[in-house]
């Protein structure tokens, strides 16, 4: 039986509505008031009003927080299931009740409800289907029946223009995750009793952490249907209940887990983030000609251009210098040419973009063609002569040819050619050296099995440069 004394979950007077207010803002014969009572009663009986969080929709239910003595958030139109999803992830034990109308849930918020249901969020959703937009004065809702006249369907809803009325419970019932879906009606006293049961079940499920529970309630909106409360209930029985089958679609067991990994305390978190409490050792800074060295490393994607750039930057930082690394960016990242800009400097670096390199390390002809003209006079071009069969045309720069790919093949891995180029660069310029390269390389390779062969590649670069100094 519905108790007639006010449950504890309700305020005695609705001060938030106005001083001393005792009546709700709903119109006579409106369905919202009935449903509020059923929810309030359930919260009181289960003694969970403390933990309850109401998600107020945009619609006539927006003032739900006038009445319930529980926490509440007034959500954006249709977005309550998203907002509720997050609350549950913060307070797993909360009882979140998303209270939504048919415009809010079935129209503007169709995406949010579908995805919350599909994730099986442990929420209770109360969906008031009154086949109309109440709050805005009686426009068509997604659930408005065919032929039904509203302010925006003055000639009746037309299938070809407006589409068919949307059966939301059936739609959600196509998904695997929800544990409870039921459509009930306020058209009859028995319907109200069943609504009460369904609401209690949907709340109990959340308390038991079972998962997504959904109650669609066919409700009258006498004002916008332009009927008396009595006629409205009759119309509801004879029309809404005909199109929207009143039944339980699903009532299953479930268990909603709340996160895969346990909470890490601060010490563990620092470890995960690899944050070491030690101060940097004071390393002697190199002096660099002009205070700055700008390097462009260019070739094809897959030649290790990017990672060799990162390696160079890492070595410079280890040596106590400043460094930036910037990848070539955009469509050419996916196959085709690739280039990395690396700046090494004694002090704070300005632009990380290398337009005019002091050193160009080129692995392919297109790369040489693109960047040769940009190298600063007096700069250096290192050419992978295994893959580039032409000479550099400039006579105002230093050029070093190294058959890096051949050397790499001899070492046993073609992909080490870029590391060999970097080894040569280290020896010519001396800003970083091959010792630091060997030190940093193992840390910057993601696959340990390649460490040894890359170290061998640096040896090969040393050997080659010893025999062929610039």
């Amino acid at each position: 039986m519905i108790k007639h004394q006010k449950p504890e979950a309700f305020y005695d007077t609705f001060e938030r509505k106005g001083p001393g207010q005792k009546t709700t803002h709903y119109c006579p014969g409106c369905g919202h008031g009935t449903v509020h009572k059923l929810i309030g009663e359930a919260l009181s009986d289960f003694d969970i009003a403390d933990k309850a969080v109401f998600l107020a929709p945009v619609g006539c239910g927006v003032f739900i927080y006038y009445y319930f003595n529980s926490a509440s958030i007034q959500c954006a139109h249709g977005r309550a299931p998203a907002t509720g999803t997050a609350i549950k992830r913060v307070h797993d034990d909360s009882i979140v009740i998303s209270y939504q109308g048919d415009g809010d849930l079935g129209g503007i918020g169709a995406s949010e409800i579908v995805h919350a249901a599909n994730r099986g969020e442990n929420l209770t959703v109360i969906f008031i289907n009154n086949a109309i937009y109440g709050m805005t004065g009686g426009q068509m809702a997604p659930t408005t029946l065919l032929g039904q006249k509203t302010k925006t369907t003055p000639f009746g809803r037309d299938k070809d223009i407006d589409g068919m009325p949307l059966r939301i419970s059936e739609l959600l019932n196509t998904m695997e995750a929800p544990v409870f879906i039921e459509r009930t009606t306020l058209g009859t006293p028995k319907g109200v009793m069943n609504t009460r049961k369904a609401i209690r079940k949907a709340i109990q499920n959340q308390k038991d952490k079972k998962g997504f529970s959904f109650v669609e309630i066919l409700a009258p909106c006498p004002i916008n249907w332009k009927m008396t409360p009595v006629d409205a209930r009759k119309w509801l029985r004879e029309n809404l209940e005909k199109f929207y089958e009143v039944k339980n679609f699903r009532d299953k067991d479930g268990e909603k887990q709340s996160g895969k990994y346990p909470w890490m305390e601060n010490a563990e978190l620092l470890e995960l983030l690899d944050i070491v409490k030690e101060k940097d050792k004071q390393t002697t800074r190199k002096t660099i000609k002009n205070g700055e060295e700008k390097v462009k490393i260019a070739g094809f994607g897959g030649q290790g251009i990017m990672s060799v750039g990162v390696l160079l930057s890492n070595c410079a930082i280890k040596k106590g210098m400043e460094s930036t690394w910037l990848p070539s960016y955009g469509p050419e990242m996916r196959g085709g040419t690739a280039n990395a800009s690396v700046v090494i400097a004694e002090e704070q670096i300005g632009t990380p973009v290398v337009d005019y390199p002091d050193t160009l390390i080129t692995m392919t002809i297109p790369a040489l063609n693109t960047f040769e003209k940009n190298v600063n006079p007096g700069g250096l071009i290192i050419v992978n002569s295994s893959l580039i069969n032409r000479k550099v045309q400039r006579d105002d720069v230093n050029v070093y040819y190294v058959p890096a790919t051949e050397l790499a093949n001899k070492v046993g891995l073609t992909a080490t050619a870029a590391v060999i180029m970097l080894g040569i660069y280290a020896q010519i310029k001396g800003i970083i050296d091959t010792d630091i390269l060997k030190l940093i390389l193992p840390q910057s390779l993601s696959k340990a099995k390649y460490v040894e062969i890359n170290l061998k590649a640096i040896d090969a670069a040393e050997e080659y440069y010893k025999n062929n100094p610039l």
Partner: protein, 346 residues
């Protein structure tokens, strides 16, 4: 200890150290890397990461988690932020703290994934409906990406406002040496937030006030908070402005380019300096005015149609001429191109 890191990774590390516990996002280049790092680190550390079905949903998740007292963030890029505007307005209007990263790309519309600064107005002036503001931090290095996310949550909590980190494709993609604080911050219990317990039963997070007078009073309250933020939180950096006759101004990637420009032109004996806002709201008007004390001209270098320049002009109240120097569409000028353009004006 310093280590080489992308700005987009640094931001996630900084956030976790800053006490962030929840991340909700939706993929978009060039911000996706933030979500990638967050998916790993937030999940692994027992915090929460969720890929939402859209930016609309993601921002409304920030609303929920922020209202529930959590330190929550998202990261997106320009069109995604545009889509979030309604939610940001609700969050600001409900005085809920949260952190939003915008790694800007070029627009309008789908545009392209190269860096632009075309979202200055959308982010700094509002973007959504109503008279609200967000604090906007403008990092220009990987280190500052970390610093910003480390402190953003505290700022958001202090003033109960959304805090933006306005970055761009280059600042996000670039790798630099970064060092991190070794203390993890934590959120305190807020008396207004929802904890789903008896004590917070009266908490009522909302932006609706049906009565005109109440809504007016509430708006005035918000404006007072913004005023307080303007008084307390202006931040900027000067480079060679003391004797500068020409002062450049730029934020984000442009400020890095301008740093080199200043160095180059100083070599030629030109008295030039750089004023860099580190907060865009509040705009650092106090320092701006000091920076132009000896200047004859101000040149504002931006990857947009002069959006920050409008604030500079307001800020210095026509004391000296302000010249716009703009590029669009993801095109990032070379140092020489900037110098060439500037030289026409000096």
């Amino acid at each position: 200890m310093k280590r080489l890191m992308k700005g987009n990774d640094a931001i996630v590390h900084g956030a976790l150290l800053g006490g962030a516990t929840h991340f909700f996002g939706y993929p978009i280049t060039p911000a996706s890397e933030v979500a990638h790092a967050a998916a790993y680190y937030f999940t692994k550390s027992g915090r929460h990461f969720l890929q939402a079905e859209s930016e609309v949903s993601a921002i409304n998740m920030l609303f929920g988690a922020g209202a529930a007292g959590a330190r929550v963030m998202t990261a997106s890029s320009s069109p995604g932020i545009a889509l979030m505007s309604e939610g940001i307005s609700y969050i600001a209007g409900s005085q809920v703290p949260c952190v939003i990263v915008n790694v800007q790309r070029a627009g309008p519309g789908l545009g392209n994934i190269w860096p632009e600064q075309g979202d200055y107005n959308m982010v700094v002036k509002g973007g959504g409906n109503g008279c609200y503001k967000c604090i906007v931090l403008a990092p220009n290095s990987a280190q500052e990406m970390a610093d910003c996310s480390y402190k953003a949550f505290g700022l958001a909590d202090k003033y109960r406002v959304p805090v933006f980190i306005l970055s761009d494709a280059y600042i996000g993609q670039m790798m630099e040496a970064v060092s991190f604080p070794t203390r993890v911050k934590e959120a305190k219990r807020n008396d207004w937030a929802i904890y789903a317990d008896g004590k917070s039963r009266k908490s009522w997070v909302k932006s609706i006030l049906m009565n005109q007078n109440q809504q007016q009073e509430y708006n005035i309250l918000l404006q007072n908070i913004y005023k307080e933020i303007e008084d307390n939180e202006q931040d900027s950096e000067n480079y060679h402005t003391e004797d500068a006759e020409i002062v450049l101004s730029a934020f984000g990637i442009c400020s890095r380019i301008c740093l080199t420009v200043v160095r180059e032109l100083r070599k030629e004996g030109i008295k030039i300096g750089l004023f860099r806002p580190k907060t865009l709201f509040p705009f650092p008007n106090r320092e701006l005015n000091k920076a132009v004390d000896n200047a004859k001209k101000m040149i504002v270098v931006e990857l947009n149609n002069g959006q920050m320049s409008a604030d500079i002009q307001l800020g210095i109240k026509n004391r000296i001429p302000v010249i716009n120097c703009n590029w669009y569409g993801g095109y990032v000028p070379t140092v020489n191109e900037v110098i060439e353009k500037i030289k026409k004006d000096i």
